[in-house]
């Protein structure tokens, strides 16, 4: 029992690693996952629009992209992008692995996000687009102002889920060999474990992940409920027919 406690919950080890976990690890995990989510949302939105196109020449490339990136193990994609691109002379981020890490997680995220956004946008009644267009809005304006905002709201829980997965998958970029200053939570803890044969640093990193992922779930669920029930009124109003899917992490 004592050995168990010492291995996983050694207070001295945790206190020793905590500063670097927070200042370097947590910061980089957040930078990688937030950038990846934003990249994923942007590319995912473009892909979602392409997936809904009637033109096969637009639709098929998006379909292939989504199928490929959803079908590969994340660790393989991260290796292909992070190790393969620079080796092949594709070096938009120079030789530092950090940019490739963001790109890789973003590319994976985009594939899932595209499908989430597509289902959200397609769940919006056709009458919304028709009403917007009947007022003289262009297709683009109607999508941007009317259809897409509603579509995104309908899939907020699913998007949060994806965000949580991105936070967790950002740990896989450790294999790109990040240098000191670029390391994210997991890599720091992993190195510490290798040096000390003590897992307390991993536990500390785990707690850091949970501190991000669990509140995110609850905050977005609360936000989602508020959007569904109207802005200012606590009183119950008819909930739209789309099912309220709760986030699971």
């Amino acid at each position: 029992m004592e050995e168990f406690l010492h291995t996983f919950f050694d207070l001295d080890s945790i206190v020793a690693i905590l500063p670097v976990l927070l200042t370097e690890g947590l910061a980089n995990t957040l930078i990688i996952s937030v950038s990846a989510v934003l990249a994923g949302l942007l590319l995912g939105l473009v892909l979602a629009m392409m997936l809904m196109s009637k033109l096969w020449i637009v639709k098929v490339p998006a379909r292939i992209y989504v199928d490929v990136f959803r079908g590969l193990p994340a660790i393989l994609t991260i290796s292909l992008v992070g190790l393969g691109f620079p080796a092949a002379g594709i070096r938009p981020f120079g030789t530092s692995p950090f940019g490739y890490a963001i790109l890789a997680v973003g590319l994976i995220s985009a594939a899932y996000t595209a499908e989430i956004l597509r289902s959200g946008i397609q769940s919006i009644d056709k009458g919304q687009l028709q009403a917007a267009r009947s007022l003289g809005m262009t297709q683009f304006q109607a999508m941007r102002k009317i259809v897409i905002p509603q579509g995104i709201r309908n899939v907020l829980p699913a998007l949060t889920n994806r965000f949580i997965i991105d936070i967790k998958e950002s740990s896989l970029v450790y294999l790109l060999g990040l240098s000191v200053g670029q390391r994210e939570l997991y890599f720091i803890a992993y190195q510490q474990q290798a040096v000390t044969y003590n897992s307390s640093a991993l536990v500390a990193a785990g707690i850091c992940y949970l501190l991000m992922t669990i509140p995110l779930t609850y905050v977005v669920n609360a936000w989602d409920r508020r959007l569904r029930t109207g802005r200012s009124r606590p009183k119950a109003v008819p909930v739209p027919s789309q099912s309220t899917m709760e986030v699971v992490s």
Binding site: D125, Q130, A132, G136, Q141, R153, L227, R233, V237
Partner: protein
């Protein structure tokens, strides 16, 4: 009482006002839903379209502002051929207001924003000006007190008034109503019909798809009976409704009256 004639193409001078529909056909896949519809609506005229469900009434209305692209035929609104390749469809569409059976308000926006959205995005008015217009129109329809609510917090009748307001705020030349009262609770129907009647008295050019025969009889200058993708009878309301010439219209009237 006249059966619909297949007019020859009309020359441009006739296109100055109102709506001209010339031999419009519309197919979805292999099924032809509009089978050569021609209809003129002159300025300030109110035309009611009646007919059984599935006869193509909604499709015809949607063709008038090109929410559906006709497979063939010509549509002119206010002197502009919408079906021409060169037509600025968005500009033309802003001149045709449409009110839908299920209101189709934007649920993520407040009532006020529902009305200001197109003023800002399409007419590019500054926020303040757009709000002024919206409040004026909302007041006219008696729903200004709802400005800051969401559509879901309003009754069906209120929502439909807001939808009418939203269309009117764009200052359309023509208003299209697609069964605007069919989704309303019975006690709310009259209020919305009253607004439509007021609009007609104001001189708005209107095409109204409706099952409200009393409204058609009272307000319509002309009634058009559609069945199976064609105009079967057309004429003054009183005549068409009391003295149907075809079995199909007799049948239909015996079912709805």
């Amino acid at each position: 009482m006249s059966m619909m004639a297949q007019d020859a193409k009309i020359d441009a001078s006739e296109h100055s006002k109102g709506i001209q529909i010339r031999d419009v056909r519309k197919s979805f896949g292999d099924t032809e839903v509009l089978k050569g519809v021609s209809l003129d609506v002159s300025l300030r005229e109110v035309v009611c379209i009646i007919g059984p469900s599935g006869s193509g009434k909604s499709t015809l209305l949607k063709c008038i502002n090109l929410l559906e692209q006709p497979t063939s035929g010509e549509i002119w609104v206010d002197g502009i051929e919408l079906t021409a390749k060169s037509a600025d469809i968005n500009a033309a569409r802003a001149r045709v207001g449409m009110v839908f059976q299920h209101f189709n308000l934007f649920p993520h926006l407040s009532i006020l924003e529902n009305v200001t959205m197109a003023l800002r995005v399409v007419k590019r008015l500054p926020a303040k000006k757009a709000e002024e217009i919206a409040v004026r129109q909302l007041t006219r329809l008696g729903v200004d007190t709802l400005s800051h609510l969401r559509p879901a917090d309003c009754s069906g009748g209120q929502q439909q008034r807001v939808a009418i307001t939203r269309a009117l705020a764009m200052e359309p030349q023509v208003m299209l109503f697609d069964e605007a009262t069919s989704a309303l609770d019975p006690e709310l129907v009259k209020g919305v019909l009253d607004e439509m009647r007021a609009l007609a008295l104001d001189g708005m050019t209107m095409v109204v798809v409706t099952h409200e025969m009393a409204f058609a009889r009272e307000v319509a200058d002309r009634v058009v009976f559609m069945d199976n993708g064609q105009i079967v009878e057309t004429g003054p309301a009183e005549e068409v409704l009391t003295n149907p010439q075809t079995d199909r219209l007799q049948n239909f009237l015996s079912q709805v009256l």
